[in-house]
Amino acid sequence: MSLIDVKNLKVEFETADGIVSAVNNVNFSMDEGKILAIVGESGSGKSQTVFGMTGLLDHNGSATGSVKFEGKEILNLSNQKLNQIRAEKIAMIFQDPMTSLNPYVRVSEQMTEVLIHHQGVSKSDALKQSISMLDAVRIPDASNRIRMYPHEFSGGMRQRVMIAMSLLCHPKLLIADEPTTALDVTVQAQIMKLLADLQKDFGMSIILITHDLGVVAGSSDDMLVMYGGEIMEIGKTENIYASPTHPYTQGLMSAVPRLDDSEERLVTIPGNPPNMMKAPEGCPFAPRCNYSIDKCNSESPILVKASNDDHFRACHVSKEKIL
């Protein structure tokens, strides 16, 4: 049985200008102990996919489909029932550690409240456990620093606090929504290393959302490429890196700047992401795709097997033509 199983997930937002469909028919599943990377550019629906799964959409958003966690349906459960899963089974860390910790509440209080609420431990026990968790994410002088406010920590340290807070209840699944985007490069590497270490120590699974392909290559088992709210390609990370079979994945790969490249200009994918107000009828990537054929503009491609080992792609153009 897979840890999480997502079927036909759709996320829509009701806005003053009409309905925006941010996520369209997303299907994937992941096994315990794995790291799954969700990749895509800004606005491709990667964050809204996980917010939809965990019931954290803004009030004007709604999710349909099915999300099974350990075999049980969790999509659109009541807040009360979701609260028994959140932090205990599924924990989250977010993109911007500057704003995702409450600036008006001490770190100690933000951490201990998780344990006090979920495990009913005493305040002093909760504090002890929180301090040892801060030690585990390598925050020096944790027993003193825990009494501070978030603004007294640097960006990288704040993300460590955030990670420590999310792991307090030893969740089965950690969802990391662009955990390194707001940090500078050296700190990014430290945080990714920390996450990889903790994943082994705690034996948990991680869904890693990112638009940094370097991060994906180094850390994930599987990857899922999203564009315009739909899955373009999904498979083992090494396979996709070895031979990307979707024009969008290829575009992303070639847009990664290389040190050994003599070209002065960075490679880009021409055009802009689609306007999700009026989702295109066919493939969302078609207007920007070099390989697009007539069918691409009228019919949405479905995920089909690209090779033997669980590698799927959603593209009308045959793999051979793209490679």
């Binding site: 899963i85 995702s100 008006y104 509440v105």
Partner: protein
């Protein structure tokens, strides 16, 4: 913190002196004087009276004498209009009255305004929200000079529940209508400020974090949402509290409560220099005091502000 408070009080003294100097000159710059009337006094008599009160001296000397009295003896001088009363007596009589109904108005404005705004924000775009917004807009478009006579018509003339005016030592029947009339528009402003700031807080990333931690709604609200939402309300409350305590002229007129607002306006009409100055100093000091309290409250909530 203590250093900061001492520094603020240190700044308050020159501020008050400037306030006194400017008001003193402005007051004397206005045409007429306390003893001008429709039937002019004989020039000799007028000169004698003005000499008695020291009004014949150059203005800087008048101001110096006045300040000397205030500082050394806490004596705000005699009233020029009510010959048997001193300014200290007038303020001593009017201020406690104003303070009492001002204080209760403040309690009502905050006690109703904050919950109303909070409920509207939490139940955004539901009938509860529309009702709360409607009530606060309604309360704001009814200024207290409309509110006061309406209250008297309903509760005194029609229902005969409450006395139409007077003070009677501040018995509750005499407090109800002044407090309602004075507090409604402040209550409405507080509700609207609370609503908009809470909506902003509810959309922040740290509230999403709190939700992702699986905390009960109550904990999220009281620990994570409420404090930051109140910051803009607190910056409004400082000046609002002074307004409630001093901006009560119409209340004093409609309900004959006999508070300071009544004396202030009368003093301005009568050129009763000493009463005007006395009340100006009291209001000025209060304004400085309450903006200091608001700033301290602000620092208490927001850890990023440390003095």
């Amino acid at each position: 913190m203590i250093n900061y408070i001492i520094k603020r009080i240190g700044i308050a003294i020159p501020t008050l002196l400037i306030l006194i100097a400017v008001s003193f000159y402005l007051m004397h710059a206005a045409p007429g004087g306390p003893f001008t009337s429709e039937r002019p006094l004989p020039p000799q008599v007028l000169a004698n009276i003005e000499a008695k009160y020291g009004l014949d001296q150059p203005i800087w000397r008048q101001m110096f004498n006045y300040l000397w009295g205030v500082i050394t003896e806490f004596d705000f001088g005699p009233s020029y209009k009510y010959h048997d009363r001193t300014v200290n007596e007038i303020i001593g009589h009017g201020f406690p009255i104003t303070l009492k109904y001002g204080f209760w108005s403040f309690i009502v404005a905050v006690g109703v305004g904050i919950p109303l705004g909070a409920i509207a924000a939490i139940r955004k775009n539901t009938w509860i929200d529309y009702l709360a917004v409607g009530v606060s807009i309604g309360a704001q478009v009814l200024p207290n000079f409309v509110m006061a006579p309406l209250l008297i018509i309903v509760f005194t003339l029609w229902l005969d529940w409450l006395p139409g005016g007077g003070w009677n030592g501040g018995a509750w029947q005499y407090l109800v209508m002044p407090v309602i009339a004075l507090s409604t528009s402040y209550m409405a402003s507080i509700a609207r400020i609370t609503r908009s700031s809470m909506l902003e807080v509810l959309n922040t990333n740290y509230i999403r974090t709190a939700r992702s931690k699986g905390l009960p709604t109550k904990v999220i609200f009281f620990r994570h949402v409420l404090k930051p939402s109140l910051l803009p309300v607190i910056s409004y409350l400082g000046p609002a509290f002074v307004g409630l305590i001093t901006g009560s002229v119409l209340i004093d007129i409609y309900f004959s409560t006999g508070g300071m607002g009544y004396f202030f306006v009368n003093a301005a009409f009568n050129r009763d220099y000493s009463v005007m100055m006395g009340i100006t100093i009291v209001v000025g000091s209060l304004t400085i005091l309450f903006s200091l309290i608001a700033d301290l409250l602000y620092a208490w909530i927001d850890p990023k502000i440390r003095y």
